[in-house]
Amino acid sequence: MSEQQTLNRALSLGGASAISTGLAFAAINFLGMAQLLDYISGPMSWIAVLAGGLLILGVRAVFSELNGMYPTAAGIRLWMSQAMNDRLALIITLTYMTAIVLVIAADAFIIGEAIAYAFGNGHLIAIVYVAILLVLATWMNLRGIKLAGVAEQIVTTIVVVVTMGVGVIAIFHHGEAPPGPVGGGSPIQALILGIFLYTAFELVTTNAEEVVKPKIIPKAMLIAIIVLAVSQTIFTVAMGLTVDAAGRATAYPQLLVAQQVMGHTGMLVMLGVTALTAVNTFNGGFVTLSRFVYAVAREGKLPRSLTRLNDRAVPVVPVWILGISSLILAVVVAITGSWVMVVSLCAALEMMIYATAAFVVWRLRRKQADVERPFRLLGGRPVAIAFMVVFGVLALISSVTVGKETSATPLILLAILTGLVTLYVFTYVPRLERRDAEELAARRAARAQARAGKAQEPTT
């Protein structure tokens, strides 16, 4: 995007910042904060959140460089395929996309549990709430209803301001602080969860084509990181000062923070905030994933049935698949109570994509040395490789940890998922590609013949 051009409906810095912040600030973040407090005491928890933010600034630099080179919604797919084998790029991209399904399922579960807690309903009713939420989200998406830019900014502003407000009140009006983590802390685990609180902020790069100035996206990411750092540091400290280990082990610790210091009304306010975070997650998640699946199917890498559109130009099958898979996952999480595992899985997938992005920067610095880079990662290849190693190690640690326990279950689940995707990419995709190549060759041949005939017309 070297030329600057005016666009109707161009995305402003404020809009892009709200998107970046809103995508990162999901309901699951409250569970991330609660888990973080298992490793570090409340008053000191700001260190972990801010340290996570510092590393995330590096991630921002990595994504800024890649986004500057490929300012497109297809960026992640595009820059990966430039840096590595296309099959491998497809495997990583499709595996990474499951993180969005996990977050949608987790958010639905958290809100369902939170509503049930607020109104004194049982566990079964919570599952009903979850089902209603996901059916509603699926229906709205099928109808093509999505949050407009201004509404998105308002929702994100409310979430951030109210979370900070409740956090500040809790910090200044808390009772006796609960004891710190039992059995010693773990700085690495706290750091992973600190990073987790910012994840998905980078998805704003998929809006790169909507801005007229290339600088807007990196600036928006920076603003989002600052806003997330301040608001989540305040709330994490507040949670550490008000909610004990038992409360933090629930699926609604944020409600307990507000309830402790503001009573029932405060709890209902926080319930509203939790619901609003889901509006952003559902809005962004459903749209991003269903459109991405549609695009990959149109590219000829997924079955054609996924390109079917309804009368509102919405890709029907991806939306249904997303709705149903999120519902199944949310119900499984509700029944098994395995939301801690979801945090581990999401963290591992995000660290994996950050490590991959750093690898791509490292690789493209040599492979595409001449390509214009409006933004460059400071320190170049050595720093990129250092990021790759750091996030690779953090991904591995996340995938063998569930809460305070060491467990290989997340790693096994990820291995199964990656295995299935790999099997698909190596067995089915070649057939799709062959079919598409044959069809394209036939169309081109027919076109060449028609053009040749036309060219001869005046002389015959």
Binding site: Q5, N8, A73, E209, E210, R298, E299, T307, L309
Partner: protein, 126 residues
């Protein structure tokens, strides 16, 4: 997306666009599904001088192609003349070219998707 692509002249690209507009208006599915879609597109071939066009869709109805760039666009599509022509001939689909980086866009992803949907309705008769 090799460097050895054939160059399509501005006149041939204009004809491809005109044919596309005709087909778009003749497709009941495209008209119905995209009935709420309005978009001003600027289409620019980066390898041919003066190959720039304005294509306006109003409530799903394609307006006659304008030679040159007119008005403030909602979506800008740039690419090699051959990649652009293939899209409007129906040989390649917009999203596939877009995902592979053959064409570059500026504007909302929603508009890119609707442009692709239109191509799909016209050429695949979905």
């Amino acid at each position: 997306m090799s460097d050895e692509k054939e160059t399509i002249s501005a006149a041939e690209l204009e004809q491809a666009l005109k044919d596309y507009v005709e087909k778009a208006n003749a497709s009941p599915r495209a008209r119905k599904t995209l009935a709420t879609w309005s978009c001003r597109l600027h289409i620019v071939a980066v390898d041919v001088e003066d190959a720039a066009f304005t294509y306006v869709v109003e409530q799903g109805a394609s307006q006659p192609i304008i030679v040159g760039l007119e008005g403030v666009p909602d979506l800008v599509v740039r690419g090699h003349s051959f990649d652009l022509a293939e899209i409007f001939w129906g040989d390649a689909n917009p999203v596939s070219n877009y995902m592979q980086g053959a064409i570059k866009t500026q504007g909302r992803a929603d508009d890119v998707m609707r442009l692709d949907a239109m191509a799909m309705f016209i050429f695949l008769g979905q």
